[in-house]
């Protein structure tokens, strides 16, 4: 049927797409782990970040990888503000409300982008968009190799922030026991907002890595966020290594399903895994027992 080389190449390319999935899922799982909420606005926020990268390229001629540097603090600020001033106050601390508020936010963001940019699909091109790296007999897409590298570095950095800084310690304390954290003087709403901001900052990196090879339109986030949910559930809600490994795994599954089933059915593998994991082991492969 297919030569092993094609399958191996598809798997490796999937691995590298998976790295970007992992980054998106990292933001989602971090927010889930601390705030115990599912952020439905994650996809729309990713779309915002992707448009920001595109705008910086189109207007200022900036390299998409370079845009990541200013975009990370910007997205952090946006996430911080959203949680502090919109999601937090509007949801009165109820899980069902948070779902609905983030859903409302995502509808608003998506359609504001639609109003601003119409439904056109936009791409940007760089010198390296179609470059390949030769690894023995295998040809790998250069932007995807970069993507994999950066995703691993960002995961490492995030792990360091959480484990080696005072803020990280506070975040972990809030995730474990909100009331206790509050009692020892941790400003819980501030930590919530910081976590939300960190989750959005991950999206800034993901957007920068995606744009050289991908396209953007106002609805694009929805496709990614469903995949990211799958990754998060698979890796265990709140687990950072789970998000990385889950993302890589899902990338490979999608790539192989696409190879064997064709593009239109390629994504179905992801959702079937998603449903199966939810039904059989909702705590995920790396999650703690609920």
């Amino acid at each position: 049927m297919y030569s092993p080389q094609i399958i191996l190449e598809a798997a490796l390319n999937g691995l590298m797409t998976g790295a970007v999935y992992a980054l998106i899922a990292l933001g989602l799982t971090l927010i889930y782990g601390v705030l115990h909420i599912i952020n439905f606005a994650h996809g729309a926020l990713l779309t915002c970040a992707m448009f920001a990268v595109w705008l910086a390229w189109a207007w200022l001629g900036m390299d998409p990888y370079l845009v990541i540097v200013p975009l990370v603090p910007l997205m952090f600020a946006l996430g911080y503000g959203l949680q502090r001033f919109v999601v937090g106050p509007a949801s009165h601390g109820d899980d069902g409300n948070i779902l609905l508020v983030t859903l409302g936010l995502s509808i608003v963001l998506e359609n504001v982008l639609l109003a601003l940019f119409q439904s056109d699909t936009r791409t940007l091109d760089t010198d390296y968009s179609f470059q390949v790296v030769a690894l023995g007999p295998l040809l790998l897409s250069y932007p995807r190799v970069i993507g994999l590298g950066v995703a691993i570095v960002v995961t490492g950095l995030l792990w360091l922030v959480l484990n080696r800084t005072d803020t990280g310690k506070a975040i972990r304390a809030v995730a474990k026991e909100k009331l206790g954290a509050n009692l020892v003087g941790i400003d819980v709403p501030h930590i919530y907002a910081v976590t939300f901001g960190l989750g959005c900052a991950c999206l800034a990196v993901a957007a920068g890595l995606l744009m050289p090879t991908f396209y953007v339109n106002p609805r694009i986030g929805g496709a990614f966020v469903l995949v990211a949910f799958t990754v998060v559930v698979l890796g265990g809600m709140g687990s950072i290594p789970g998000a990385l490994l889950g993302g890589l795994f899902i990338g490979v599954v999608e790539s192989l399903c696409g190879l064997f089933l064709g593009d239109s059915l390629g994504q179905i593998g992801i959702f079937l895994i998603f449903i199966a994991v939810l039904l059989v082991r909702p705590t995920g492969l790396f999650g703690a027992k609920a």
């Binding site: 599912i38 919109v86 509007a90 009165h92 508020v101 359609n111 949910f229 559930v233």
Partner: protein, 332 residues
Amino acid sequence: MTARDLIPIAVLAVLAALLPLVVTSSTVLNFLVFTLIVSLGAQGWNILGGFGGQFSFGHAAFFGTGAYVTAILQLRYGVNAWAGLALATAAGALVGWVIGFLSFRSGLRGSYFALVTLAFAEVFRILANAASFTGGAAGLLIKLDVRPANLQFDDRAVFYWLVLAFVTATLLLTRWIQRSRFGAQLVAVRENEDAAKALGVDSLKVKLRAIALSGAVTALSGCLYAQYFLYIDANIAYGSWISVELLLAPIIGGVGTVFGPVVGALTLHGLGEVAKQFAGRIPGIDLIVFGGVLVLAVAFARGGILGLLERLRDRGRGMVTRGTKEVSHAGR
């Protein structure tokens, strides 16, 4: 059910039925039919989400099943549209029961249930988009053949009355649920599933019954949608837009109330039309309004519009003490 339960529904139904005698504009009738179809599906969502507290983010799974079953039966097998309507409704109940069986038996609640329903709807969408049986990406076109047996009528008003009859019937159904033992058990499961179980409520059975009913009602709305607009494709029938519509209406109108979905659907689409009038050129303006209203409703009016009205009424009577408010809430 007492006369007090039935009279408001009857009065509203009669008033709404008289509308086509006054309004002849086909734009207005189209708007009303579409809004009523949405409110019917939303009532389906409300049975499970409002009374049962199980928030589904994928009611498109039922809406689309209703639409596709009726269209395929009619196009491929020449089944009479009325029989198709009954079968589509039954198919919705079955899909609801299966999804419910799989997810409730695994103990999925809250966000997890929302996610799994979303995933089921997506799977259906991808399958319907890929299979040739469902017309693939080109969708299905129901032939225009104006005969009552095909659910196609010379006069738009007849279809309006038909949809109105179904909406009225589900309002009665919802009222019955609210007053029945089953409804009480359902609300008990919503408020505290463990406590309900401890009191001997078979929570799995109650939730399964609710999701099957919910799926049937929403499938019926999908079937009516297909028969009115005569065209469906995977992104319409199983698209996330309809999942969102069906959950927005009850939440805006008043979640877990009999009239909430109808009030919500009318308010949302009324506002959407107004927004389009003011800024017609801007795509998605009505959805921006929907999203904004959702955030505001959650932030400031948890009981939706009906909840707000009730609070205003209570304030008018000068009984805003915390206790009475709680009681009136529970008794609703």
